[in-house]
């Protein structure tokens, strides 16, 4: 495992590269796209385990922090959807160039899946995409985030009355939500895509099963029949985030590795 910065040195992104455990390495790299905001923290351990298992299955694997998140450059207030889309592309370029790989697969969870689905059709080198509980409808996603934030604030006002005087309208659960970010998130609609993200697609559905079904139908109308998987350990990732411990849905991670291994032969 190698942590390193890549991309424009003034706006560098922190990546963690996992080398294949054995030779010969596969000629497909895997770029892991994190969720964002509060959904990301609970996912980091699962991503690390997934990266290790992919490396064991002889994939070159790169996970990374988007601009203005984690250890990457940028203040949290600079979070920007267009910038994150270009970061996914930068990470794909980085993995391909540094390991001399012709093709990649993208694996994303929640907003990470959405970014993967939006970036993949713009490129010719993305062979497979795993969309794990993707944010299909950005407007509904924002509404859900704000509702959760309000719920937290209600309990916070009870516990810490002084907190009421310090609340900003432009924050959600510990992270800034600028008008620009909110506007661009609100416009996300995966049912509206014109091109399929890749030839091989795996959708892992959770609570948003109706949304995933809409995406499934859209992909079929575009000529792609996605594979479907349900989490073995719990009904949905978003529900599981309520758990106080970091989550590692081990069997589901294995299922992702198995699917990628099969689809990238």
């Amino acid at each position: 495992m190698l942590p390193y910065f890549f991309g424009d040195p003034r706006e560098q992104l922190l990546g963690v590269y996992h080398a294949p455990d054995n030779h010969p390495a596969r000629d497909v790299g895997v770029v892991l796209c994190y969720p964002t905001g509060y959904e990301c923290v609970g996912a980091l351990r699962a991503y690390r385990v997934l990266a290790r298992r992919l490396a064991k299955a002889r994939f070159h694997t790169l996970r990374f922090d988007y601009y203005a998140t984690g250890d990457s450059a940028g203040e949290s207030e600079e979070a920007d959807l267009d910038r994150w889309l270009s970061d996914v592309s930068t990470a794909v370029d980085e993995l391909r160039a540094s390991r001399d790989l012709p093709r990649v697969a993208l694996v994303g969870l929640r907003l990470g899946a959405t970014l993967a689905a939006l970036v993949a059709p713009q490129r010719s080198d993305v062979e497979s995409v795993v969309l794990w509980e993707p944010v299909v409808d950005g407007h509904a996603y924002l509404k859900g985030l704000r509702a959760r934030h309000q719920l937290w604030l209600t309990s916070e006002r009870h516990e810490r009355p002084a907190a009421s005087r310090h609340v900003s309208d432009h924050e959600v659960l510990g992270y800034p939500l600028t008008e620009r970010l909110a506007r661009s998130l609100g416009l996300v609609d995966l049912v509206d895509i014109d091109l399929p993200p890749a030839d091989q697609i795996l959708i892992i559905a959770g609570n948003d099963e109706p949304e995933s079904n809409k995406l499934d139908a859209r992909l079929r109308s575009l000529g792609i029949t996605p594979d479907r998987l349900h989490l073995a350990e719990f009904p949905s990732w978003t529900e599981a985030l309520e758990s106080p411990q970091p989550l590692v849905p081990s069997r589901s991670l294995d299922a992702i590795v198995t699917w990628l291994t099969r689809e990238t032969q």
Binding site: M1, V41, D71, A73, E156, A162, L173, G174, Q245
Partner: protein
């Protein structure tokens, strides 16, 4: 800004980010800061506060290292079965040695939230390279003032009485536990990697550090366990008024500094403490 990713430590598997300012005329006067994981949260800290603070202090010429203890974030787990608190102590010391080797830093401030504060305290007690500690939501002990505020406020809350009447109030649980002779919890429930010392042990440790010249920045958010400005002074009267001890209480902040305003306040308070020539570890050098 120069930030570099690194792997260090005896096993070469501790992952961290070094924020290293260009050499400035007075940058060598500042000790380096090491950020310790709070619980199982990764090195960026809750809501990235470690990153914010490291980058703010970078502008003043402060070198820092935020890293993951083994088994957390990007650092590999250990295989020697060393208890978490012992391995954490050892790894924080390895982090100091690494910064000495890399940047020539010989004096350090340890920054810890929650269990990170516990580790910082323990290393600070024994390692003379530590010249300052920032302990955020570290040890707190209930005082009379704390109990009066906690229970007094609830006497006038409609919700408390509603809970009593509907059987949801913790009082009922307490009574049923008492009837069934279960052991009653005395203090904050302890996670496996966090053991709170007795008040006497904590007092002895803090006094020893103060007499050694270590400067302390004690910062508390608002909780059942810490709910008024002077609680630290009332808990540790012998050191609470020492000029080497700076106590801050953020009554609007929660334990993970969720509100952006609380993150800013945390960063502001620590920055002004560290850069204030009269109160900070820097004062020792002037």
């Amino acid at each position: 800004m120069t930030e570099a990713a690194t792997l260090f430590g005896e096993s070469g598997s501790l992952a961290g980010i070094v924020t290293e300012p260009e050499p400035q005329p007075d940058s060598s006067k500042y000790p380096a800061i090491i950020y310790i994981n709070p619980g199982l949260l990764p090195r960026v800290g809750p809501h990235r506060v470690h990153v914010k603070l490291a980058r703010r202090l970078y502008k003043a010429g402060v070198t820092s290292l935020r890293f993951d203890l083994s088994g957390i974030g990007d650092s590999a787990p250990r295989h020697d079965r060393l208890p978490a608190r012992e391995s954490a102590t050892q790894e924080i010391q390895e982090a100091m040695s690494y910064l000495t080797e890399r940047s020539g830093k010989r004096e350090f401030v340890l920054f810890g939230i929650c269990s990170g504060a516990d580790y910082a305290f323990r290393v600070g007690c024994t390692d003379r390279r530590v010249v300052g500690l920032v302990l955020v939501d570290g040890y707190s002990y209930r005082t009379l003032g704390n109990r009066l505020r906690h229970y007094g406020l609830r006497l006038f809350r409609r919700r408390s009485w509603a809970n009593v009447l509907t059987g949801k109030h913790p009082l009922w649980k307490w009574l049923s536990m008492r009837e069934s002779s279960e052991k009653l919890p005395q203090e904050r429930p302890s996670l496996g990697f966090y053991r709170k010392p007795s008040r006497r042990e904590a007092d002895a440790g803090l006094r020893a550090m103060v007499s050694r010249g270590v400067n302390l920045c004690i910062l508390h958010s608002h909780s059942h366990w810490y709910n008024y400005r002077s609680q630290f002074k009332h808990t540790f009267p012998s050191i609470g008024i020492s000029p080497q001890v700076n106590v801050e209480y953020l009554n609007f902040a929660d334990h993970t500094f969720t509100l952006l305003a609380s993150q800013d306040a945390l960063v502001d308070r620590v920055e002004s403490w560290l850069l204030d020539a009269d109160r900070s570890p820097r004062a020792r050098k002037l």
